[in-house]
Symmetry: C2
Subunit: 150 residues, 2 copies
Amino acid sequence: MVRRDLKARAAEEADLFRSYLSSQNLKMTRERRTVLEEIFDTTDHFGADELHLRFVSKKISMSRATVYRALDHLVKSGLVRRVYLDKKKAFYEHVYGRVHHEHMICLSCSKVIEFADDPLERRQDKVCRDLGFKPLRHSLRIVGLCRDCQ
Amino acid sequence: MVRRDLKARAAEEADLFRSYLSSQNLKMTRERRTVLEEIFDTTDHFGADELHLRFVSKKISMSRATVYRALDHLVKSGLVRRVYLDKKKAFYEHVYGRVHHEHMICLSCSKVIEFADDPLERRQDKVCRDLGFKPLRHSLRIVGLCRDCQ
DNA sequence: CTGACTGCAAAATGTTTGCAGATTC
DNA sequence: GAATCTGCAAACATTTTGCAGTCAG
């Protein structure tokens, strides 16, 4: 039952990606499908290189360049979000089927805490409306000390 | 009169920086003072490299490495904020004496709009409080389309 | 069959680092 | 005087790119 649902959702997401791609005159290739499958049930933050290494260790042949290119398309399609958790590199997270959330980052232990808050989102929308700005995506990063590290 | 105020504020800020530095067993050098002076009356977002070039063109001798190192200290001292406006590089902005603000970035014309909203800030504080997280700094990036580009 | 894609390796970019000599406190 | 700085150039890490051959629609 659960298994069937997962499959259905995966297919649904692949369809979304495919229609984004074709809207841009791009193609659904084996590699792009593989990337999407690989991140499908992840909820963590990963670097592009890290994802590439996962393929290497699974003996799935895919170049680093292709991983970068696929991630760019996934971000543009809205299925993946690029987040800036530290200044060294970009991180990615799978967003499809998940509730939108923001990040708190602990300066001391580097833990990343995800949270969601409706009133906060509504207030952002209001501010945008007042300024005539049409928001497409956003992210809030709060840096500080988590409960355990204070 | 205005000029005097500016001077007074600059001196005040230099003092803050100096006390941060000495609290970390660091020294107030000519270079660090020069960087602070250079950004003192700026309100824009600049890259480290860009700042270095400004020194080059003013015939002020300072290496790129020193600029990077000075900016790191200024960020840690709280006088400067590092913001992630695009994925290519880090930007910096002078915050001392300015009201805290967030950024909207237009996907189409790349314009950066700054805005501030109290209720938004208060809500963030509440969320942090509820989660036992002690916020030290934060930044909200809203990407979308500005009024002119819609 | 055409245009888009991939892998590769090289290049580009932004940032950091080790070291020798200079400077601050 | 001791510890911290600076400049330099080299090293680094991440990301992008040009090109020749491959593949999707």
